[in-house]
């Protein structure tokens, strides 16, 4: 179980992830990451472009909560979150100082949010045991 982070108000599910270059995996950074089911795509802080020596690989039209749209560049990283390692993940940049993990990653995981008790669980296998077939 992981605890909610009260530095976000209201408190939020946050955990550490590792972002690495897809070219040289020794270039890596461990960062705090917000699990955000409202994001279609994962975003990483701008500063990682220099520290991981990333270069753009694509672009997309990003639509914000105000429904305004703008073109942004996309980058590729290797992302490790809990027991899951994604060798190549397309991400965008954020001016925030933490990673925003979107549904492009969350949909590969089992996530149990326990808001009243301020904790959450993130796994690569189901929380429910498979039925025993006799």
């Amino acid at each position: 179980m992981n605890s909610y982070d009260s530095r976000h108000q209201p408190s939020a599910p946050v955990l550490n992830v590792t972002a690495a270059s897809v070219v040289n995996r020794r270039r890596r950074r461990s960062l705090s990451a917000l699990l955000d089911t409202g994001s279609d795509i994962t975003a990483i802080p701008h500063g990682l472009v220099d520290s991981l020596q990333l270069y753009p690989v694509g672009q997309l039209q990003l639509e914000s909560v105000e429904a305004s749209t703008r073109a942004v560049l996309t980058y590729a990283i290797q992302l490790t979150i809990g027991e899951l390692s994604i060798p190549r993940l397309e991400v965008i940049l954020t001016g925030l100082d933490f990673v925003v993990v979107g549904r492009d990653v969350l949909n590969r995981l089992y996530l149990l949010l326990n808001g009243p008790e301020q904790n959450f669980d993130l796994r690569t296998t189901s929380f429910f045991a498979a039925p025993i077939v006799e």
Binding site: Q9, V23, Y55, V57, L62
Partner: protein, 141 residues
Amino acid sequence: MQSVSVTSTPIHYFVEIERTALALGPTLLEENDQPVAVLLPISDYQTFTRWQEEQPPLPSPIPSDFAAEVEAFEHLKPTLLERYGGQVVAIYQGRVIATGDDKMAVLGKVLDEYGPVHCYIEWVDANSPRRARITSAWVKR
């Protein structure tokens, strides 16, 4: 905005301004009717610097070689739609060097075959680039 004329030598500007003028807000300093600078009351300057600190960092500039590949993709798009419609292509030096049905898988092909070259990887679709939504809102505290 009020304005005040300045005079100058090759090294110095000279400005004569009444003490009460700063209370009236920003003052435009002009030389020969051309704006030279703006003199701000300290409270306005502090507001400006606070605003400046709150601005998000500027995004990295688009590398020129990447921009050229994007331009090549757009130029080739009618032909690409006929030949690779519905697929992903990687464009490098103005030509298709890899194709597939997943952007990151195509990146893998490029890395394996060409190394970390600056290519543009995109879906060949009339509406590309695709749209992604960030519907979350963060409240600044």
